[in-house]
């Protein structure tokens, strides 16, 4: 395969992955027009992506969660007090769909109203809690949030005024829709993280009572709520740890490697200490894993995991380092000897 082919292969991959810029798409378009062979290559590539995407959508889309999102948005634009009833059955006909959607929405609306009085704060903010699993949610402005299990985010039904304010408790990755006229502000305890549109990660439960912020792309400013003039401006790839108690700020250009592990469950350790490995694995699966003999934490291992179950990960650890793993309730105990 010659160099030009490789170049256009990469370009096509970029295009089908949604990575290509406008200029690159025009370039691809011109290349397509050159001859039939190019069109064939493109067709083949497209079919592979289509098939893979279809399979991915089949596996990844959780219809109940999607319905929740839609329901949330519909109920927020509805007037209060409307009532209809709901029939959640699958039906063959589409003719009465409007009526059915109406029915569905209203019962859910009624549930929503109930929830609001029982669970939500009276100012009708929406609180999303990822109680059983990692959760993806979309804010009214289109921003995407991945919430780790046990974390929650609170946001208004609509971003009125000139700010977009949300409150985070726990750990989340944000992909914020750009809107220069409405800064996006995350409250993490006393800390405020302000952005215009960008991708970043916050963990309010970082070890040592710290709040950890990692900037992936774009720019963010972080400050404490009582001293908004003292801003810490972060650069992409930077990790900053804020200690709300002491107001200490520690920044590093080498961010923690596995900050998204709870979403990806993809880990690759090279000659890593066992205690670090266990920490990362416990974060990935959101399970308490304890090293009963802390001295064994100095053992080192090289291993990679890719979306495996926790059980199989623990089995691998057991056999590589001659450890013994037992389960006690929700917790896993890892026992072993210290290494030389």
């Amino acid at each position: 395969m010659n160099a030009e082919n490789t170049y256009y292969e990469l370009l096509m991959s970029r295009y089908f992955s949604g990575e290509a810029s406008g200029d690159e798409i025009s370039e691809l378009s011109a290349w397509l027009d050159e001859n039939l062979e190019h069109k064939e290559q493109f067709t083949e590539q497209k079919k592979i992506f289509d098939a893979v995407n279809e399979e991915m959508i089949e596996q990844q889309v959780d219809l109940d969660a999607e319905w929740e999102v839609i329901r949330g948005k519909i109920s927020s634009s509805e007037e209060k007090g409307r009532k209809v009833s709901f029939a959640p059955k699958e039906t063959k006909q589409n003719r009465n769909i409007i009526w059915r959607v109406a029915a569905a929405v209203t019962v859910l609306l009624a549930i929503g109203v109930l929830l609001r009085f029982v669970v939500f704060r009276p100012d009708s903010d929406i609180k999303v809690v990822a109680s059983n699993d990692v959760m993806e949610t979309r804010l009214p402005d289109g921003s995407q949030i991945s919430l780790n299990q046990g974390s929650s985010i609170t946001y208004p039904k609509e971003f009125a005024g000139n700010k977009r304010e949300v409150e985070l408790e726990g750990e989340a990755h944000f992909q914020v829709t750009h809107d220069a006229s409405k800064p996006f502000i995350v409250s993490a305890g006393d800390l405020r993280v302000e952005v215009l549109g960008t991708s970043f990660y916050i963990n309010t439960h970082a070890p040592g009572g710290k709040v950890q912020v990692i900037l992936i792309e774009g720019s963010v400013a972080a400050y404490y709520k009582d001293s908004p003039e003292e801003k810490t401006i972060m650069k992409p790839g930077e990790q900053v740890e804020f200690s709300p108690q002491t107001k200490e700020i520690a920044s590093t250009n080498q961010h923690e490697q596995y900050f998204m592990v709870w979403k990806t469950r993809s880990m690759k350790f090279e000659n890593e200490r066992l205690d670090r490995v266990i920490y990362t694995v416990s974060r990935a699966y959101n399970k308490k894993i304890t090293l009963t003999n802390p001295a064994a934490g100095n053992c080192r291992l090289t291993v990679a995991f890719e979306g495996q179950t926790l059980e199989s990960v623990l089995k691998v650890l057991e056999s590589t380092l001659d450890l013994k793993v037992t389960q006690r309730g929700d917790e896993f105990l890892v026992d072993g000897k210290a290494c030389e």
Binding site: A51, R100, E306
Partner: protein, 178 residues
């Protein structure tokens, strides 16, 4: 319910244009919301699916235009490919193809598979994959390309042959041989 039956298919439909899962998902969500909001004013005798499809099509193209990613030539060519794939036996081929995809992905070298899955099933951007795995974007691109070359090799014979009718006989020869 229309939602349960059509949601995934419509996301796939939008993704054919926007190429980004989260964007497609948002567009389809919005279309369902719009269908609800406009329930009074739209003609209920008309198939709501065709209403959704039209709304999603328009919004997908608008997204491409707004993001300066719209190229008439490419979009039209892709539509030709898609129209030719919607034949009666495409569903059957689909099932067989899915099984083949899974096994072809399983055969990829570990690092390559890791990158490919992060991109295709976790929907991470190249930059995010590079950050997550602590590798360069160039490496991500190279691994993606490697993965696709392998998939093409393994899946080529199973891809629908339907385009050939339109392209004429002389091209058949080259179709799976490059």
């Amino acid at each position: 319910m229309l939602f349960r039956k059509e949601f995934k298919g419509l996301v796939h439909f939008s993704m054919k244009y926007v190429k980004d899962f989260e964007t497609a998902r948002g567009i389809v969500q919005d279309a369902f919301i719009m269908l609800w909001e406009k329930r009074e004013s739209i003609d209920t005798a008309r198939n709501p699916k065709s209403y959704l499809t039209t709304a999603i099509y328009t919004r997908s193209l608008n997204y491409l235009r707004d993001n300066k990613k719209f190229d008439k030539n490419v979009v039209e060519f892709e539509e030709i490919i898609d129209n030719n794939s919607h034949s009666a036996d495409s569903a059957l081929l689909g099932k067989e193809l899915k099984a083949k995809i899974d096994s072809a992905i399983a055969e990829l070298p570990e690092k390559c598979r890791e990158v490919f899955l992060l991109s295709r099933t976790e929907n991470l951007k190249y930059q995010q994959i590079a950050d997550t795995l602590q590798i360069s974007i160039k490496t991500v691109e190279a691994q993606m390309s490697k993965a696709l070359a392998h998939l093409r090799l393994r899946l080529g014979p199973y891809l629908p042959l339907l385009l050939l009718m339109q392209w004429g006989f002389s091209e058949i020869f080259h179709f799976f041989n490059n």
